[in-house]
Amino acid sequence: MTKELITTRSVSFAVAERRIIDAVSISVKRGEFVGLIGPNGAGKTTLLRLLIGVLAATEGKIFLDGRPLEDIRLRERARRVSYLSQEASTVFPYPVLDILLMGRYPFLGRFKRESESDLEKARRALTYVGLSGFEDRYFNELSGGERQLVLFAKVLVQETDLLLLDEPTSNLDIKHQNQFFSMACELTREKKAVVAAVHNLNIASQYCTRLILLDQGRVAAEGKPEDVLRRELLDPVYETKTVVTRNTSTGALVVNVAPRRPAGSYPMPRVHVIGGAGSGINLTRELVRLGYSLSGGIAHEYDADQKLWQSLEVPSQVIGAFSHITPADVEKAFRMVEEAELTILCSFPVGPGNEGNLELAKRAGRLVIIEAGPEEEPRTFFSDKARQVFAALAENAEHMDYGQLCDVLESGKIFKTGAKKTRRESQA
């Protein structure tokens, strides 16, 4: 039963000398849920079309159950391999039930009518995808998502061992996306195999047992989601900077595009962010979005802020987890603070471990302290010393809440000469 259901042996497909698929050798076993990933134009759809035989390989061979694909009659193929196209709509108003019964076409002779059992299969499939009662609705009047589910039901009615799905959920909302993929997943438990071209890498990582990363028609990587969804593999293929993390709430791999500085922006002032415990996340993102160059620290290893700085390649001062900030650490971080035109102290709890951050803030040339807004947790201190140091440095700093700070950062007003003086004068 673990025998390969479908195998390609260095299959290529070329149009006018251009190889859209280039020497691809893959195989799919029963019980597998294989996700084809890759950027637009990587050849995902073409590969699927080769697998159903709509396109004929210009080189190489495809084997279905060990037999060359072209030796198997079309009807017999259709009883083993089904296909869900990217999007299908009909011009003519066919009722949903008629569409589903088309899935029985490969089983019916020219003069044979659909039997009661065919009807039963169609109704069961419709119920399975959660659209019972849709039998007499017109297919072309359904929403894109419903249409996709109906076509999936049609694929189920075809009762094949191998299902090829071409970006099946590009039209679906997140609920239906997940419903769709868990249904496909369930099929693999019945010893069927699913191959799906997927754009959404996060969905792919969650459901697929194996991923194949295509790049310009070639297999760039193949394996378990955690082996394929790696920055060093994805970045060159997608030609963009990605960030792969584990979602701390679901444990799933999450692939995101790293935020990029706006291109062509004039040199922006340097800002140093002193944060911790996630208090600097929003600010960091905002600063990156606005194009400021920034530095961060001092932060503990594995701290949420530190992880963000690391993945965004923001220079930061790190110390070991749970260790105390030493004067030497402050001295090191001060070099970054010295270079920054502005230092921002986020609102995080201060205790003996990170009192050093307040010492660092005290030495900043120009300091902005973010005040907790009315709905946020007030700043907390776990040591008297921390409270005293903070009180001292608060006197010589500017105070804003997060919203105000974002406004002045966005307008750039904060760096206009004299802004600081006005503040001091008004205090005096």
Binding site: V54, E76, T90, F92, P93, Y94, R110
Partner: protein
Amino acid sequence: MRRRKTAVLLILIVLLFVAIVLSIGSGAVRVPPLSILRLILNGVGFRSIELPPEMQINIILHIRLPRILAALLVGSALAIGGVAMQGLFRNPMASPDILGVSTGGSLGAVIAVNTGLFALNVFFLPLFAVVGALLASGLIYLISSYKGRTSLLFVVLAGLAISSLFNGLVSAILLFSQQYEVSQFIFWTMGGLEGRMWKHVLLPLPVLLPGMAVLFLFTRELNIFALGEENAHSLGMHVERTKRVILAITAVITGMAISISGPVGFVGLLIPHLFRMLIGPDHRLLLPVSAIGGALFLLASDLIGRVLIPPFEIRVGIITAVLGSPYFLYLIIRYQRKGLRGFGYD
């Protein structure tokens, strides 16, 4: 829906019967229905029933009946040709006349007439008509399969171009021919049923009827084309082969119909569309119902043309054009409003 389908079918059959009786009865010489009944009853064995006058019998048997049969045959052939082409191209704008297949048939027939070949052998006229129609649908097939993809709006535009080209050729040949007659010109550009005798009708019959019957075997395939060619392939259908067969049969029956009546327009466009709205797109039902509907439409159009301004006759092609063109315009406007979706684009 089921009740509606039965009702449509029943109404069609009743109307068809009424139209046949009226067609036998009306014209320059009126034949009362009672005479028809007497002729039929006598014919089926009730010898005691008095036959109607000799002249009436002659008019019925040699003028009216062949003309009626011609209308029925041509109407149903063009209508199911339209059903097949619309289904194949997933395009409610397609039909043998819009895509130039009818004009191709016309061109073939005109060549047969003008070269004098039609006088050598009675088979030449229908043969040439069929060859012309096949040529046109071959062109359509090549264009539609260009780069392996059927661009549906493109098919309609290409068809219109082919249609205009062939029409121009027909006009040119007729204008330069020595035995140029206005009636010939009108017949081969607009179509008509006047003067159709048994020989015109019976000759194509052995090809026309089996051809129509074969098309009935492909109704399930026509349904599956609705999902697109890729999906059709994945369901185990030989897409290109099926397309070729359906297009060829459509061309043959269209050519045969044209050899009877000339290129009568709009039947193949209007009838499938109308009945799809009434009974749904399932070709297993749409095809037979359209066949009856097309027959009725052409017979009724011919009847209207004959009785509207006696003693003159308006050619059936003019009547169908007058009825069909506004409908075609309505379709275009409707699809314009709905966007390209109506043309089969997703």
